[in-house]
Symmetry: D2
Subunit: 132 residues, 4 copies
C-alpha cells in the first residue's frame, strides 16, 4: 500500500452554503474520496472489496477548519496513513489551495463483514507494498 497520495477535487456549487463557502460536512466526503483514490493508486479497489464481503466503516472522524474553500476552487487533498494496526486504519488529510492549508482531518476506520462483525485489517493493507 502507498502511505501517501494526493487527489485534486473541485468544489461543486451544490456543496457550498449560503455563507458562500464549502459546507463543513462535505470535508468528510472529500476525505473519503482521498482514501479511495489512494487505495486505487495502490492497486486496490474498494468496490471489489465490498463485493468480496469486506466493508470499511468510519469509527471516528475529526476536522479542523482553518480557512474557507469557495465554489470552483481546485483543491489538493493530501492523504496519508497515520497508523494501521490489525484493528484500525487511521488516515490524516491536508486540504490545500495553492499551497495554503485549508483544513486538517483525521479519520479512523475499522473493517467489518456483511453482517457488521468486526474483522482484522487485511495484511496487505498493513504492509507498505501493493496488494498481490
Amino acid at each position: 500500500m502507498l502511505t501517501e497520495h494526493t487527489t485534486r477535487i473541485r468544489v461543486r456549487y451544490q456543496e457550498t452554503d449560503s455563507m458562500g463557502i464549502l459546507h463543513h460536512a462535505h470535508y468528510l466526503t472529500y476525505f473519503e474520496i482521498g482514501r479511495t483514490e489512494m487505495l486505487r493508486a495502490s492497486g486496490g479497489n474498494y468496490r471489489r472489496m465490498e463485493e468480496e464481503g469486506f466493508y470499511i466503516v468510519v469509527v471516528k472522524a475529526e476536522c479542523r477548519y482553518k480557512r474557507p474553500a469557495y465554489y470552483d476552487d481546485l483543491l489538493n487533498l493530501h492523504t496519508c496513513v497515520a497508523r494501521i494496526t490489525s484493528a484500525k486504519i487511521e488516515h490524516e488529510y491536508h486540504l490545500m489551495r495553492d499551497g495554503e492549508l485549508l483544513a486538517v482531518g483525521k479519520v479512523a476506520l475499522a473493517c467489518v463483514d456483511r453482517e457488521g462483525s468486526v474483522r482484522r485489517v487485511p495484511q496487505w493493507m498493513q504492509a507498505e507494498e501493493p496488494p498481490g
Copy 2:
C-alpha cells in the same frame, strides 16, 4: 391509500448554496420525503416494503422552480397521486411557503424486486384504501 398529504419541511443550512437559496437538486429529496410520509400516513411503511424485497425506483422526475426557498423557511409540501397503474405510480408535488407556490414537481415510480426486475404495483397501492 391516501391520495393526498401535506408534510412540513424546514430548509437546512446545508441545503442552501452560495446564491443563498435552497439548491435545486434538494427539491427531489423533499419530494421523496413527501411520498414517504404520505405512505406512512396511509398505514404503509417503505422500509418494511424493502425488507420484504419490494423496491420503488424513480423512472422520471421533473420540477418547475417558481420562487426561491431560503434557509430556515418552514415549507409545506403537498403530495398527491396523479396516476397509479399496475406499472407506474405518479405523484405531483406543490411546495408552498405561506400560501405562495415555490415549485411544482412530478415524479414517476416503478416497482422492482431485489434483483431489479420490474414488478406490478401492489393492489393496495392502487386502491384508495389503507393497506390491510
Copy 3:
C-alpha cells in the same frame, strides 16, 4: 440561552449509502440542526443573526460513531453546551435511537462578520438566559 435541548430527526433515504446506513458525513449536518433548534428554543434565530451581519463558522468538528443508523430511523439528538467563552462556542451531541447511543459529537464554533473577521461571542449567548 438554554444549555441543552433535544431534537428529533428522521433518517432520509437520500442520506443512506450503499452500505445501507446513514452516511457518516451527514452526522455533522444533524449536529448543525441540533444547535439551530436549541437556539430557536432559546428565543434566538440564526437566520436573523446572519441578516444582522453575524455569522457562525465551524472551526473544529469531531464525531465518534458507535452504532449505525438506518433509513427511516427516528432519532433523538441531544445537544448541550460544553463551553462558551468570548472567543468560542463548544457543543456536544449525543445521537440516540430508543435509548441506544449511536454517536457522540463535538463541534467548536467561532463568530465572524460579513467579511469573515473574528467577532466576540455575544453576551447573551454566554449567559444562561434567553436573549432579550
Copy 4:
C-alpha cells in the same frame, strides 16, 4: 460558446443510497457540473460571472432514469445546448457508462442579477463563439 461537451464524473460513495445505486437527486448536481465544465471549456467561468453580478438560476429540470449507476462507476456526461434565447438557456444531458445510456436530462436556466431580477442572456452565450 461550445454547443456540446463531455465531462467524466466518478460516482462517490456518499452519493449512493441504501438501494446500492446513485441516488436520483444527484443527477441534477451532475448536470450542473456538466454545464459548468462546458462553460469553462468555452473560455467562460461561472464563478467570475457571479462576481460580476450575473447569476444563473434553474427554472425547470427533468430527468428520465433508464439504468442505475453504481458506486465508483466512471461516467461520461454529454452536455449539449438544446436552445438559447435572450430569455432562457436549455441544455440536454446524456449520462453514459461504457456506451450504455443511463439517464437523459433537460434543464432550463434563466439569468438574474444580484437582487434576483431577470436579465437577458448575454450575447456571447447565444453565439456559437468563445467569449471575448
